[in-house]
């Protein structure tokens, strides 16, 4: 073991890499503490929790049931969407590659739909599919599907024509050509497509969960997720919550710095997310927040209070919105 | 011809003494060149023949300064290129390499490629370099292809342009690493004639690596036959066929005798290399 570590650290690349990461964490820490130490806040970096807090918060999350349930939920969605995309996408891509008429009819519509970002499908699929789970899985499926099809198509079409000719000269039938040449020849691209598709799936599932509300009230309350993220958990959790109470628990957790952070973010969030959306609700309640640049305690206190009021308004708005949706 | 510099200057004498190169990737010693010595006079066409993978290219890389050498010395015109205390030669425009797979920059036109050397060395202004490149390409019969990219012309033309790119820098030595390997026999013939014509015009020293024995005898003043790995000088055959040579030379009695002589020496090594290859595989 020591031997292994020794050889590892004799390698310049590893040494520099580890060094770079350590420097990055130190800079992060300095940045997040800058406000407290010097009173100057660089671009709001002071609002980011320091790495130590993030790690502590992460340890705090690990024993929670809801955290692991969120893993299960997200993995379930990713795997469902991904498998369905593979099952439909691979034959579809192969058919596009081998049959000219099939390609002529199906490829143009496919190309029209492909540039639409998968997330733009979220609301439509929320409307169309009966359950939230199904709509998230559908969007996940879309994310992987287009990539897989394009890769399979490209792979199948790049097969060297001389293989096909060789097989034909040995008397292979069309079906033989497909099973013995086209399919094995496409396998590498299928795996490439699957790997890339898997990456996109994770990206999409997270976004879809945030936008659709991750199976909570089904109304699109991504900010429940924000609360979790705000506590610095985003490095450890890449999945969503479907346990509403857990969010409430989180939002009650109080620590001085984190509290300020949470309230500030809530206030900012209300303004960005809902400014135009809730014209019909009391628009005047929401004013632009003053950024807490000040270094004297009194100003901070005042800021906190106003931010706190805003978060009160925010929760009352939440409740009203809930009623509207029902 | 005004440009004829004749072979009076005789610059570019290479002296390779006791060169050894050991590759040592992760503890596996591979001796590519072992105690290899040869003398190449200025303005000579020196052909290196040997079985594939024997370490000829390693020797060339040592001269060009792409690799370090483990032991021995290499001198060019009495000047030390590399030796004890200086394992790796500096890369310099006095030793121009023409690569096995061709290394014209595919993103520059033939003219830009040829003008590149003098421009970056700041020997000529970009405009002058471009003009001279155009002239030299035209002399090599590529006047109609100045604005073409290497990907658009035949491999023979690209190779000819690459030699022009080397020659525009007035090198002392031209190092060619199997430049005509992937060409068909007919194109090769034309390329040989073009190279001989270029040689007659410039008198540059040529260090030419090949497997093709006929090519070696047809082009060379001396043919150095090297052993299979590790590479050592086995035999030197002097080709006393007068220049200018034409393809008719290849059917002469003298030519066939030389070919036989070279073939005897090489065949033995080739068999050894083949057997060694079989052992390695098994």
């Amino acid at each position: 073991m020591t031997n292994f570590l020794q050889t590892l650290f004799n390698n310049t690349t590893t040494r520099r890499g580890v060094g770079a990461i350590i420097i990055f964490v130190i800079l992060w820490h300095i940045g997040s503490q800058l406000d407290e130490w010097t009173g100057y806040d660089l671009l709001g970096i002071g609002l980011v929790p320091p790495p130590g807090d993030v790690f502590a918060a992460f340890l705090e999350v690990i024993p929670l049931h809801g955290y692991w349930m969120s893993w299960v939920a997200s993995f379930g969605r990713v795997i469902t969407g991904f498998l369905v995309a593979m099952v439909i996408g691979i034959p579809f891509g192969l058919l596009l590659a081998v049959n000219r008429y099939f390609r002529g009819v199906f490829f143009p519509p496919f190309e029209i739909l492909r540039p639409i970002p998968p997330l733009a499908w979220v609301p439509a699929s929320l409307i169309f599919w009966p359950t939230n789970e199904m709509s998230i899985a559908f969007v996940t499926f879309l994310g992987a599907f287009f990539t897989i099809v394009i890769n399979v198509l490209g792979g199948a079409r790049s097969i060297d024509i001389s293989y096909l000719r060789a097989a034909q000269s040995m008397g292979a039938s069309q079906l033989d050509l497909f099973w013995k040449i086209v399919l094995p020849g496409t396998l590498p691209s299928i795996f490439t497509g699957a790997a890339v598709g898997m990456g996109i799936t994770w990206e999409v599932v997270l976004a879809a969960e945030m936008i659709s509300g991750g199976g909570t009230q089904g109304g699109g309350w991504p900010w429940l997720f924000y609360l979790e993220l705000l506590y610095g958990r985003f490095l450890g959790t890449n999945s969503c919550r479907n346990d509403f109470h857990w969010h409430c628990r989180l939002s009650i957790v109080k620590r001085d710095k984190k509290d300020r952070l949470l309230l500030h973010a809530l206030a900012t969030f209300i303004l960005t997310r809902t400014r135009t959306q809730i014209k019909n609700l009391k628009h005047s309640e929401f004013e632009s927040p003053e950024k807490s640049h000040g270094n004297n305690k009194i100003k901070k206190e005042g800021d906190k209070r106003s931010a706190f009021q805003k978060s009160q308004q925010f929760f009352s708005f939440l409740a009203r919105r809930e009623q509207v949706l029902r | 011809m005004a440009k004829n510099t004749s072979k009076v200057g005789k610059k570019g004498a290479l002296s390779i003494k006791n060169v050894t190169k050991i590759y040592d990737p992760s503890g596996v010693n591979v001796m590519a060149v072992d105690d290899c010595s040869m003398e190449i006079a200025g303005g000579e066409v020196c052909m290196i023949v040997g079985p594939s993978g024997c370490g000829k290219t390693t020797l060339l890389n040592g001269i060009a300064g792409f690799h370090s050498i483990t032991e021995g010395t290499i001198h060019l015109d009495g000047e030390l290129l590399c030796g004890p205390g200086k394992p790796k030669a500096d890369q310099s425009a006095e030793r121009m390499v023409v690569f096995q797979h061709g290394a014209l920059f595919p993103w520059k036109t033939l003219q830009e490629n040829v003008a590149y050397g003098p421009t970056v060395q700041k020997v000529l202004s970009p405009a002058q370099a471009t003009e001279k490149a155009g002239q030299m390409l035209a002399e090599a019969g590529l006047g109609n292809f100045l604005k073409k990219y290497p990907g658009e012309v035949s491999s023979g033309m690209a190779r000819r342009a690459e030699i022009v790119r080397a020659l525009i820098n007035n090198p002392k030595v031209l190092l060619l690493d199997e430049p005509y390997r992937a060409m068909d026999a007919l194109t090769k013939q034309i390329m040989h004639e073009s190279l001989l014509e270029t040689y007659d015009r410039t008198g540059v020293t040529i260090f030419f690596i090949t497997h093709d024995l006929e090519e070696a005898i047809f082009l060379g003043d001396k043919v150095h036959i090297v052993t299979t790995r590790p590479c050592q000088l086995k035999k030197t055959v002097e080709v006393k066929i007068p220049r200018p040579r034409s393809y008719e030379t290849q059917s002469s009695e003298k030519f066939r005798k030389l070919l036989e002589e070279v073939n005897d020496a090489v065949h033995e090594e080739a068999v050894k290399a083949f057997k060694a290859g079989e052992r390695e595989m098994a």
Partner: protein, 290 residues
Amino acid sequence: MNSTAESNTVAPEGFNLFLYRTKKHFSGPDPYLTVAGVFLWLFAYWVLCEGLQIWRFTKLPGPVAISKDWFSTTPFQGISIFTQEYYDHIYVSCKRILIAFGIATGLGVPLGLFMGWSRSIRDYIFPIIELLRPIPILAWVPLSILLLPGFEGPVIFLATLASFFVTTLNAMLGVDSIDEEYFRAAGCLGSSRWDVFKNVVVPGALPFIFTGLQISIGVAWFSLVAAEMVSGDLGLGYLIVDAYMNNVTVPMVIAMITLGFIGYFSSACVRALGNRLMAWHVKELAQQGR
């Protein structure tokens, strides 16, 4: 036509070449199949939504409803090609993409090139990029809201970040893909280190850079839409979510289709720019019959 006449025929150029290609294109079945395919799909969509009114499909607007609203001067659900609002959303989204893509390219390409070119730069920066890259873009949302003031800042930041990683990595891989012999040839010809960078590293990496930029603009749209949906105040992504919140489905679909067209158009622009800058590469591929 006899053989002498044929040998005198010059290859068509310019407009004639375009005409020749068009003619050739329409002599095959492909364009007709394309039209047939698009219509078949539209028809299927119409049958499901409006013709037979199959369960669940009735919740979505059919092609007739969409086109009626889209091309009407008085759209029933608020968005059509005649309303200013529609163009406002498009303008805002495009502006954000331009800024984000510009920043990501301006930072990512040089950084990637330097990372490919210099071992030590790569050793120091690559681990940090690899550490940050797997974090899903949306996980950056709260952080970006904290870090950057205003509405535009976070949205543009998210789109930039996503395409930055893609661009950087592809530029770096592009340098890796350059054949060692070009570096050797450049060294032989007497280049300084800077000459090598300008004349070998940059042009040699261009094909990969443009592949990267194609992906990057797609990713930029992806994250822009995500960011607009979560925290925007204008833009096509916002239009989709806004329509959804207000229970109007037609603007939602219009925004989706518009996104599709603009997304396609933007990657076509990148492709065209790439082909223009890499004439040598295009011709090389054409010679290989691709």
